[in-house]
């Protein structure tokens, strides 16, 4: 909300308090001032236009003015036509900088001399209006502009949703006065000024059909008003707060909204049929031409203000054009109501129309505020538009606001804050904020919050009131510490345990990524991994409408991004959850298995892909080893996303944790990734669950014996099968067996391959003899011959 410093000074003495000081005090007590714009008008002078004629040569329409700036006349050229002779205008002389930053210089425009500039409200930063020169209603030529318009300071403040009372200058001023400990000059409830007969409630019939959506409706009747422009000071304040002046009646309703935070609306009483007001739900297909010139179709969800026949306003959002106050209006109905916050929010949202009024109603205004706002507006209308305010308004208020009392044990203040606030300070603070404090016999305080503070209902709320005015800066920081007889032993978090895998991956050249969990559901469908996908019902866009069921598409997308930047060899991984809807419906919480997934470039040829596959196995094996989990076995498998001939199920301790393999060519192609990619994706929680603390083994005391053997088998025999057979035949003396070469060619029959293995033998008890090892090797070979019809190459 925009707050004018100059406006605040209506309500409290701000002498010695600069706008910056005021902004700091407000920020510290909870009205966060996000920016402060100072508008220095002291360089601008007042001028009187003596003569205006069109520029003879200029292609664009320009006007040449002779302006009296106090003792001398300057020739000033402007584009706007409204500075007619006789008007008083702000003039920026050559060499000055206008508040919006423009430096004014002597110029020559199409052969005509131009000195200085006539300024618009926008150029002076007095509002958003840049359609014409700002016309002043008074001022002496040559005097500084500040003689009629004070320099401005506008604060942009963020009002928290619990403080709708601070959505107006009076509420903010009250906070500031409490913070500065200065008296507030204005009472919350203005006096009622209506005296004219007959009673207002006899002139218009008001009925609330939906008491849940409208807690109060005040309809004030004011007759014989003269509609015209509002005074300069009011227009200026409205502009400063971003509101466009229209006429005195509309301006007064907006002014009171900006002052009291109570939205008001003025109807032309003579255009209301009846005249009657019905606060009712809109009927389906009812239409309203609104004040902004847009015709809107209403729904039964929306609350309407209707006369005897038709809607005349959308409650709390915007008024209708047909019943609006015009220059011809004489009698008005002043609406000051209290509408339900949620209902106004929904209506504003479904119309896509957030107004100053709806922004305030949304936050649940106190119904008592409606009366204060109505009285203030009536007084201003009487003063500035000369109306007759009728007595005894219609005020339908079926369920009046209940006063709230809060019992406070004052020691709670010190207990919660952690510092000592003298009781008299605390009491004084509450009183400054218009709370009523009565000290009870037992020392407890019976506190009555002001009617405009619906946010205060429990003792902690009062502690907050005291704390924020007392100043949280005065609370010394401490660390808690108490002797506990109970605790929970700490273990490393899952993520911290996974750091062991991160170290392995970093060493292997893999970089960690964090990718969005919301992805395109359509893409998951195309990849055929959407079976358990959870789709959000109110997505921002199609490409973020579904929770991912696999990390791999995100990682492939990340590869594509980096390929675009010229990276060929890309290795990435991610540790994050996948989301899988449970059987039995998508309205129960899904499984969120934590996954580790990695992708790596795998060249372009089939052989490069094969090697990359084995390379990635080493990476995964190193990760599981680093996590102290048992070694994985790999079983031929078929899985979505993977190459049908190059995919393995990763099995640890008899449990399948995921897959490793080359990605299917159609998957890489659809991700716009060229070449082959290898990848794995495994569930890490079961992996961590079976991790064991490494137990130290005694170091070997006797030397090892190594033997190599090249095994020739048919193509269909898998290396894993040979390894298993070797281990089975070798017995306990075999310490390790690894494969180191695969060969196909002239020395091997067609349809066969040769795989070379290195076997390491060792006994924990003695040095092995060649004869012993030869015996074991024979056993192994025999086993391989029998099992796999193997032959051996020397």
């Amino acid at each position: 909300m925009r707050i004018s410093y100059e406006w605040l000074s209506d309500f409290l003495d701000l002498s010695g308090v600069t706008p910056k000081d005021a902004a700091d005090v407000l920020t510290r007590l909870g009205v966060e001032v996000e920016s402060l714009t100072l508008v220095d008008l002291s360089q601008i002078v007042i001028g009187k236009v003596l003569e205006q004629k069109p520029h003879p040569k200029s292609r664009n329409p320009l006007w040449i003015h002779q302006v009296d700036v106090g003792g001398r006349v300057m020739q000033i050229i402007a584009g706007a036509p409204n500075a007619v002779p006789g008007t008083v205008v702000p003039v920026a002389l050559p060499g000055t900088t206008v508040p919006n930053g423009k430096l004014v210089k002597d110029m020559n425009i199409a052969g005509e001399k131009a000195s200085g500039m006539l300024a618009s409200a926008a150029e002076l930063m007095l509002g958003d209006d840049h359609s014409g020169i700002l016309i002043l209603d008074r001022g002496t030529p040559g005097e500084p502009l500040t003689s009629v318009i004070p320099s401005q300071a506008i604060m942009e403040a963020e009002i928290t949703s619990n403080r709708p009372d601070c959505m107006g200058h009076l509420g903010v001023a009250r906070e500031l006065a409490a913070g500065l400990d200065r008296p507030l000059k204005r009472d919350f409830m203005p006096a009622f000024t209506g005296t004219a007969d007959p009673p207002g409630r006899d002139l218009v019939k008001v009925a609330i059909d939906e008491p849940d959506l409208c807690r109060r409706y005040i309809g004030g009747v004011i007759k014989d008003v003269r509609v015209g422009p509002s005074p300069d000071w009011m227009q200026r304040r409205l502009r400063a707060c971003g509101v466009r002046p229209i006429n005195n009646i509309v301006d007064i309703t907006n002014y009171v909204l900006l002052e009291y935070a109570q939205p008001l609306h003025a109807f032309d009483l003579n255009k209301l049929e009846g005249p009657e007001i019905h606060v009712r739900r809109a009927r389906a297909k009812e239409k309203l031409l609104c004040l902004d010139g847009v015709e809107r179709e209403l729904t039964a969800e929306m609350l309407a203000i209707a006369d005897a026949n038709r809607p005349v306003a959308i409650a709390g959002v915007i008024g209708g054009a047909d019943s609006a106050v015009t220059p011809e209006s004489t009698d008005i109905l002043l609406e000051s109501a209290n509408f339900n916050g949620s209902s106004v929010r929904q209506t504003a949202r479904s119309l896509g129309l957030r107004t100053e009024a709806s922004a305030r109603f949304e936050r649940a205004l106190p119904p008592e505020l409606a009366l204060a706002g109505a009285r203030r507006a009536a007084a201003l209308i009487a003063e500035l538009a000369g109306g007759q305010v009728h007595r005894e308004w219609a005020d339908v208020y079926p369920r009046p606001q209940e006063p709230v009392r809060v019992n406070l044990r004052p020691a709670l203040i010190d207990e919660v804050l952690g510092t000592h606030v003298p009781l008299e300070d605390a009491e004084s603070i509450l009183k400054r904020l218009n709370f009523h404090v009565k000290v009870q016999g037992g020392g407890e305080w019976d506190v009555l919050p002001p009617v405009f503070r619906l946010d205060v209902s429990i003792p902690e709320d009062l502690v907050e009131e005291v704390g924020r005015i007392y100043g949280y800066d005065r609370v010394p920081p401490t660390l808690p510490g108490r002797r506990h007889d109970r605790w929970t032993p700490i273990g490393p978090s899952i993520d911290r345990r996974l750091d062991d895998a991160r170290e392995v991956l970093a060493g292997a050249g893999y970089t960690e990524t964090w990718n969005p969990a919301l992805v395109s559901g359509r893409k998951l469908e195309d990849l055929r991994i959407a079976a358990h996908a959870m789709r959000v019902t109110n997505a921002l866009s199609d490409d973020m409408d579904t929770l991912r069921t696999s990390l791999l598409p995100s990682l492939l997308g990340a590869v594509a991004v980096n390929r675009d930047h010229g990276r060929v060899d890309v290795r990435l991984y991610e540790i994050a959850s996948a989301y899988l809807a449970r059987v039995g419906g998508k309205s129960t919480q899904p499984e969120e298995p934590l996954r580790l997934a990695a992708v790596a470039s795998a060249g372009t040829s089939a052989d490069q892909g094969r090697k990359a596959f084995y390379g990635l196995k080493s990476v995964l094996d190193a990760c599981t080893a680093a996590l102290s989990a048992p070694a994985s076995t790999y079983q031929r498998a078929a899985a979505q996303l993977y190459h049908p001939g190059r995919c393995a199920a990763v099995v640890i301790d008899g449990r399948q944790l995921g897959y490793l393999g080359e990605l299917h060519p159609s998957v890489t192609t659809s991700a716009k990734v060229e070449g082959r990619m290898v990848a794995f994706e495994i569930d890490v929680e079961p992996l961590l669950a079976i991790a064991r603390i490494s137990r130290a083994q005694p170091l070997p005391r006797f030397p090892a014996v190594e033997r190599d053997v090249a095994v020739v088998v048919e193509e269909t025999v898998a290396a894993g099968a040979i390894l298993a057979a070797i281990k089975e035949s070798a017995g306990e003396l075999l310490e390790h067996v690894g494969a180191f070469d695969e060969y196909r060619g002239t020395q091997v029959p067609d349809g066969h391959k040769s795989i070379a293995f290195t076997l390491t033998f060792r006994s924990p008890e003695r040095t092995l003899t060649d004869a012993e090892v030869d015996r074991v090797m024979s056993e192994i070979k025999l086993g391989l011959e029998k099992r796999h019809r193997a032959r051996f190459r020397e």
């Binding site: 510290r28 902690e460 949280y472 930047h565 959850s577 919480q589």
Partner: protein, 340 residues
């Protein structure tokens, strides 16, 4: 036939002239070789000599062998010392030549920052608690005192799967779950994790982000304790010259509620371009846990009270590493990720 002493002088002369270990190896074989070395040959005819001469010759030969061995060892040591002394010239390399790229991978900057945060808070006894990202309406809103129709709800505009199920807008539901699980305070936990809000992506916010929230429930906790905890955390992460201020604010789940700011690291708090002349940078929200929220977690607010805070991991990383666009964290661009 030459005698032993002449042999020794001859050998010593040769040793003195030797310029390399290889020369010395040759000399050693020439004189001390087992079969054809000069010293061995000296003894070749010893069998024919009378006993007295036999002994004398044997002794002389042994002495000669020892003298030559000593001289060899000394010269070897001299040559080695010389070689070591000359290494600066003989084996100098161009140390400015760049080493080959290691090709190491990088741990994501958000992981690094989350780790730092966890480490600091674990040092105060806080434990990591995790919870589901797809949450129920009750845990995400109701339990936190954000009732249906609450005007503050628009601050947590959420993605829904059904009227009852949504992507959590903060990690606060984990606080409720933790209270319900642990049941009896003391409770000191932190809840790192991903969150979601329906905000269009821009430089300062994303519809997905990560938070760390903290919760302490104990007896007699104060706003001062909360301030101290935040100050300890911020100074541990950013340096002991940083200050923390708490500003009154509003959240339905805390009372009193605050925003907490950290003094600008560039200007030290006096105001500069980087902190938009405020001197302070907004980091997160905090407050004393609302009694109703404790009740919803199954904790008796008559006996216990608590404080809680929360902030975005991205925000902390942006402040620490001068990152000006939050989207960079989730774009997986190696040119960015490899900077950390």
């Amino acid at each position: 036939m030459i005698d032993a002493s002449a042999l020794v002088s001859q050998a010593l002369a040769a040793i003195g002239k030797a310029q390399s270990p290889a020369d010395l190896d040759r000399i050693e074989i020439e004189y001390l070789g087992r079969k054809s070395g000069h010293v061995s040959r000296l003894l070749s005819n010893i069998g024919a000599l009378p006993a007295a001469e036999k002994a004398a010759l044997g002794k002389a030969a042994n002495e000669a062998k020892r003298d030559i061995e000593d001289a060899l060892a000394t010269r070897r040591a001299e040559l080695e010392a010389g070689r070591l002394a000359d290494l600066a010239e003989t084996e100098a390399i161009d140390i400015t030549f760049p080493g080959p790229a290691l090709g190491r991978g990088h741990i994501h900057v958000l992981t690094q920052v989350r780790r730092q945060i966890e480490t600091v808070l674990e040092s105060l006894g806080y434990q990591v608690e995790l919870g589901p990202e797809v949450e129920t309406e009750w845990f995400n809103f109701e339990a936190l005192n954000i009732t249906a129709g609450h005007p503050a709800r628009e601050n947590w505009d959420s993605f829904y799967f059904s009227p009852e199920l949504l992507l959590r807008a903060h990690t606060s539901p984990v606080q409720i779950r933790a209270m319900q699980r642990i049941k009896e305070p003391p409770i000191y936990i932190i809840t790192p994790g991903r969150c979601y809000r329906r905000d269009a992506p821009e430089a300062t916010r994303l519809p997905y982000f990560s938070q760390v929230e903290g919760l302490a429930v104990d007896k007699g906790l104060t706003v001062g304790d909360m301030k101290g905890t935040l100050l300890y955390m911020i100074q541990s992460l950013y340096g002991s010259d940083r200050k923390v201020r708490v500003r009154p604010s509003y959240f339905p789940f805390t009372e009193p509620s605050f925003e907490f700011d950290v003094s600008c690291g560039i200007c030290g708090g006096v105001g500069c371009k980087s902190c938009r002349h405020k001197g302070w940078l907004e980091v997160g929200g905090c407050g004393m846990v609302h009694p109703q929220v404790l009740r919803n977690g199954g904790i008796d607010p008559g006996q216990w009270n608590g404080y809680a805070w929360g902030f975005g991991i991205e925000r902390m990383a942006m402040l620490k590493h001068d990152v000006d666009d939050i989207r960079l964290f989730y774009e997986s661009d190696l040119r960015f990720l490899e900077q950390f």
